[in-house]
């Protein structure tokens, strides 16, 4: 399993990597904004992507839109500190497959993985 994490906060990327590593054996790719995320997606061909919403240069929503314009079907989970129902619906409408709240709870992350990759 190869997972790309796109977040402009290094501590957020490290926290997510540690949490995911507790659930399965994973090779990680990292990017600190949507622009570098697109390059990492193209070069690394991950099975799953976790992206933050607000980032410098290109935010997570724009990143997802560009991925979908390119017809890339990779599963994408949005990670945000404001995962209310409206935001979830908006993210899904724009191409996200799942959305989870920060701070990340272990059971919520496990549920996301179960939903996204079975």
């Amino acid at each position: 399993m190869k997972i790309l994490i796109v977040d402009d906060s290094r501590v957020a990327r490290i926290g997510l990597k540690k949490a995911l590593s507790g659930l399965m054996n994973i090779d990680f790719l990292e990017a600190d904004d949507g622009t570098t995320g697109l390059s990492a997606l193209k070069d690394g061909n991950p099975d799953l992507v976790f992206t933050d919403w607000y980032m410098k240069e290109m935010d997570g929503l724009e990143f997802i839109k560009k991925v979908r314009v390119d017809k890339n079907p990779v599963k994408i989970c949005m990670v945000t500190s404001e995962a209310n129902d409206d935001r979830k619906a908006f993210a899904i409408e724009n191409g996200a497959d799942y959305i989870i709240n920060k701070p990340i709870q272990f059971n919520e992350l496990a549920k996301a993985l179960e939903t996204l990759i079975g």
């Binding site: 906060s9 501590v11 607000y54 500190s81 404001e82 935001r87 709240n101 920060k102």
Partner: protein, 147 residues
């Protein structure tokens, strides 16, 4: 804004993110004002305001240590900036839908200084409280709102 609800929301988000305690105090201002780290997020759009946290170097270093899961003596200046920026982002995002609906969040702004006081012009301070965390180190959490 219900200050008790905000207090509970802030406390839960703080503890879930940092795994450090957060206790209310009756202090009106920070008495430990050396080497302050200040992190702020601005709400803009239909509802405007800001959320700011300010704390000294000791607690800022502990926050980074807990969030990076490393020893305090290996925490760098950049680690502190990243950690308290991410913390204020999470606190703001967790309360945005309840108190700043229809607004956008800025990326966190992190500043450092000493004996400094920040005010948001044309805004009301709707929540301001001094908490103590691990070993009684102080942290100020302030929320401003403007219509």
């Amino acid at each position: 804004m219900d200050k008790r609800v905000i207090n509970d929301l802030v406390s839960k988000s703080w503890k879930d993110t940092t795994r450090l305690p957060l206790e209310s105090t009756s202090l009106d201002e920070l008495t430990d004002r050396d080497a302050l780290y200040i992190a702020s997020v601005v709400f803009s759009g239909e509802s405007q305001g800001s959320l700011t946290i300010a704390t000294g170097e000791t607690l800022a270093t502990k926050i980074a240590s807990m969030m990076f899961e490393c020893e305090t003596d290996s925490v760098s200046y950049d680690d502190i900036k990243d950690s308290i920026g991410e913390l204020v982002n999470i606190l703001a995002g967790n309360m945005k839908s309840d108190y700043f609906g229809g607004s956008d969040l800025s990326r966190p702004l992190v500043m450092e200084g000493s004996d400094s006081i920040l005010s948001m012009l044309n805004a009301d301070v709707v929540f301001q409280k001094i908490f103590t965390s691990d070993n009684k180190e102080q942290v100020l959490i302030q929320i401003c709102h403007t219509d």
